[in-house]
Amino acid sequence: MIPINDFLVLSAILFSLGMYGVLARRSAVLILMSVELMLQAVSINFITFAVYLSPEQFTGVIFALFVITVAAAEVGLALAIILRLYRNKQTANVDEADIMKW
């Protein structure tokens, strides 16, 4: 059998890689993709805990379901925002949209 820690470590690696992507990338689309990776890591965590530790309530599974749902909505909205950004600034790079400061 696979020990729980294997899944959790995988989730941690996945999350960290997503985090790296969010922090290092410039393009909004790439950042979005990295966010998806992080969401995947979270989902893995949720399901892992549900099937290993609380099979009676399996809240984690339900949550993973919601995560996927919300992720879908989020991607739709985020892409719409990226589109607007691109129309206004002719770029999809987030570090070029910096007029909302002092």
Binding site: A24, R26, S54, F58, A80, I82
Partner: protein, 165 residues
């Protein structure tokens, strides 16, 4: 090492390679393709966790809808033609932060004593999930549908652009 473990490590390796590809690729289209790979591998992980329903949902929504959407966005914004560097100036710090986070969370995982049986995967049937969704989780479920509607409307309003544009 049981065969289950062997399969797990294989799938996990594909997931990680996909993720690495997403965050490291110089070409943005390659990134998108790596993302698909990674997402599909995660569906495999879900199967290993005995959550077949979620795996299917994952393939349908992520592997299908989300990646398609992302590819559309790429096309519409013509990110490929952007000549500037794909990575920002804070890449080294980002790498450091990510590494630190990874170390921290792995340390946390390893050092924690989990309550309950950490060896056995309990199968949660589709039947159970369905009942739970429509009884205990009925209200959040409805709200989730509301969220989707709102997101849909919002996305349309945002993407449509203003009059005369």
């Amino acid at each position: 090492m049981t065969y289950e473990e062997g399969i797990f490590y294989l799938v996990a390796a594909i997931t990680v390679i996909g993720a690495l590809g997403v965050v490291l690729a110089r070409n943005i289209v390659h990134s998108a393709l790596f993302l698909i790979l990674s997402l599909l591998a995660v569906a495999g992980i879900f199967i290993l966790l005995a959550a077949e329903f979620l795996a299917i949902v994952q393939v349908l929504i992520y592997g299908g809808a989300v990646t398609i959407l992302i590819l559309f966005a790429m096309m519409l914004t013509r990110v490929r033609e952007t000549p500037a560097a794909v990575d920002g100036p804070q890449r080294p710090v980002a790498a450091l932060a990510a590494a630190a986070f990874m170390a921290t969370s792995i340390l946390a995982v390893v050092s924690t004593e989990w309550p309950g049986n950490t060896e056995k995967i309990n199968v949660i049937s589709l039947d159970q999930i369905g009942r739970a969704l429509f009884t205990t989780w009925a209200v959040p479920f409805e709200i989730a549908s509301l969220v989707l509607i709102v997101a849909l409307v919002g996305a349309i309003v945002l993407a449509r652009g203003e009059e005369g544009e």
